[in-house]
Amino acid sequence: MTSDTPEKSLSLKQRFDRWMIKHGRVLVIGIPYIWLFLFFLVPFLIVLKISFAMAEYAQPPYSSLFDWIEEGVTVTLNFGNYLFLLSDSLYATAYLNSIRIAAISTVITLLIGYPMAYGIARARGSVRSILLMLVILPFWTSFLIRVYAWIGILDREGLINAFLLWTGIITEPLIMRQTEGAVFVGIVYTYLPFMILPLYSTLEKMDVSLIEAALDLGCKPWKAFLKVTLPLSMPGVLAGSLLVFIPSVGEFVIPELLGGPNTLMIGRTLWNEFFANRDWPIASAVAIAMLVFLVVPIMWFQHTQSKQEERQS
């Protein structure tokens, strides 16, 4: 019995193996936790702390929360930043606008992405991998460059206007860039793969004979889709929608480059507070509030996902 072997007679390797068997699990699980702690939780706490401070002309540009006086430490929490967010309607408008734009973009992305994912999932093997490759291909170019490309397409002197003017359909160039429509185009274009991929993976896993069974039992094809395919692909719809919705809410680059001056989104507000006004505490409060807005859907998503997995196992 190896467990009876006295410790001394063990080689270094055997000791290491024993240690790994005992603690390996903790180590493997521990690494991502340490990562999350260092690069997510600590920055989050710093931002949280700043959001309770006051702006100062100093280095760093905010007051300290902790004061050391004779008896000990006093903590001064300043809720003023959050109250300020409530008092100025600009912030509420920006939040609501972000959510509205993100929600509409998500629905458009879903409407475009679902048929594409369905088509890919039903394609023959060789065609399928080519189509999947095409979906992933844009990731190989910088996101920023791709959004700039859209400027070239939508601009006053852009491709579309040039073409339409050349054909004579219009005589005055259309204003497409710096509108909300351009923001939708940008978001839908950018986040479409995040919708297609989870949808594809649920649709691809689905047994085709389920649809045949529905047809066999008297469903017309569209009804078989509504009664069988759609409900069974809901996990993919949910995953895709959240993957599009959550980053869209905080999107900064797309509204900045494609949107007009009136396209108010929370990402832009945040940027302005931080870099233009240099008001770190307000910027932090905006960020924390946005996080709270986003954490709720994430938690809900995780909750439904784990329930789904429970049901499947």
Partner: protein, 388 residues
């Protein structure tokens, strides 16, 4: 056909009712007319013509990939034939989509809807017909009672065992009272013991409801136990159609003989024939084989004699008449199975013959042992003669 007249010629009223395939006036319920299905250049089903009658439990039997499922799917409307016609109850099915066909299918994977419970699964097809709710409820509960699943109505498919899922799948396809029920390997996913038990249940249910069943299976025992008639398929072609009895006793080819049960095939040449008998000389079998009926062919033609192991006799002494139907050899392998024993006997020609003997009396020690010289012999009627 090599089936003697006597077998086919039992055509009187009774037989016409229970064996409509022997009644020349009977109208087939399902008819395949020269049906071919090509996938690319590959013939999955090749010029199949087949008649199936009402109330039959018909089995398509064949090895994996021989086109059974494809044939069934063409009946269900999931595949269109490349050429040929399919009729159900006199109606040409060309262009009729699956959802309008009078067939229902029980899928090999069962294909139960995972997001619906047992009751909803079974009611699904009835809802498509727009039946009133109360009627649906009655039909569903009757059907669940028939398959003994009343206790599990609220369970989801993943909460059921394989056997229970099989019952739900059967109930779901049968509740719409189709003209034809199609079953693709209905028992394939069950373990052996459950499979044997379910075979009889399925036959009982079929007799109770009277629906015409067309079943696909690769298991010859299952087909023989359940089916009224069997079509033996090979590489997209139907080799032979008949009752289990006809196929076992009068196979038309070496393929069928081999597929149903076990058989020794010995090659030989026709050396003597007459209206009443024929003699085949077999070098492989090391003897002359006497057949007690005429065979179609001329002298010098090659035939195969099919000898079922259970029809062969094993003796230590030579039989009285050694002119025909006997050959000597050595016991090479013994399989003692309790109820029966199987022996492999090596002949002088090198051919191995399999013999099974019932152990109908208790022995003090095994009758034969390895290397025992033995004689294998059989009755004049035991061998079937095959020409392909």
């Amino acid at each position: 056909m090599l089936v003697p007249e006597a077998v086919l010629d039992r055509a009187h009223e009774d037989v016409h009712k229970t064996q409509p395939w022997n009644n020349p006036d009977a109208v087939p319920y399902i008819r395949f007319e020269n049906v071919t299905k090509k996938f690319g250049d590959f013939y999955a089903v090749d010029d199949v013509s087949l008649d199936i009658y009402r109330h039959e439990l018909f089995a398509l039997l064949g090895g994996s990939g021989c086109g059974k499922t494809t044939l069934l799917r063409m009946l269900a409307g999931f595949e269109e034939p490349t050429s040929g016609k399919i009729y159900i109850d006199g109606v040409n099915m060309a262009g009729v989509p699956a959802y309008e066909r009078p067939t229902n299918m029980m899928f090999q994977s069962y294909a139960l809807f995972p997001h619906m419970n047992v009751e909803q699964n079974v009611a699904f097809g009835l809802h498509q017909d727009g039946l009133p709710k109360s009627e649906i409820r009655t039909l569903v509960s009757d059907m669940l009672a028939l398959v003994q699943m009343t206790k599990f109505t609220k369970r989801k498919p993943h909460q059921l065992s394989g056997g229970q899922r099989q019952r739900v799948a059967l109930a779901r396809s049968l509740v719409k009272n189709p003209k034809v029920l199609l079953l693709d390997e209905p028992l394939g996913a069950l373990d052996k013991k459950l499979r044997e038990q379910t075979q009889f249940e399925l036959v009982n249910i079929q007799e109770k409801v009277g629906t015409t069943f067309v079943m696909v299976t690769h298991d010859q025992e299952e087909a023989m136990t359940m089916a009224s008639r069997i079509a033996v398929m090979n590489e997209g072609v139907i080799n032979q159609t008949g009752t289990p009895f006809e196929l076992y006793e009068y196979p038309n080819s070496r393929y069928t003989a081999n597929f149903l049960g076990q058989v020794n095939l010995v090659e030989g040449v026709l050396i003597d024939d007459d209206e009443k008998y024929a003699v085949i000389k077999s070098d492989e079998g090391g003897c002359e084989i006497y057949i007690d009926h005429a065979v179609q062919g001329h002298r010098g033609m090659t035939f195969w004699a099919a000898l079922r192991p259970e029809r062969l006799r094993l003796t230590k002494e030579p039989p009285e008449d050694t002119k025909y139907n006997c050959v000597s050899g050595k016991v090479e392998e013994i399989g003692y199975l309790g109820g029966i024993s199987t022996y492999h006997v090596r002949l002088a020609s090198g051919k191995r013959i399999k013999v099974t003997e019932p152990n109908s009396t208790r022995q003090i020690e095994p009758r034969y042992t390895w290397e025992d010289p033995v004689w294998v012999s059989w009755e004049a009627g035991a061998a079937s003669v095959l020409n392909k």
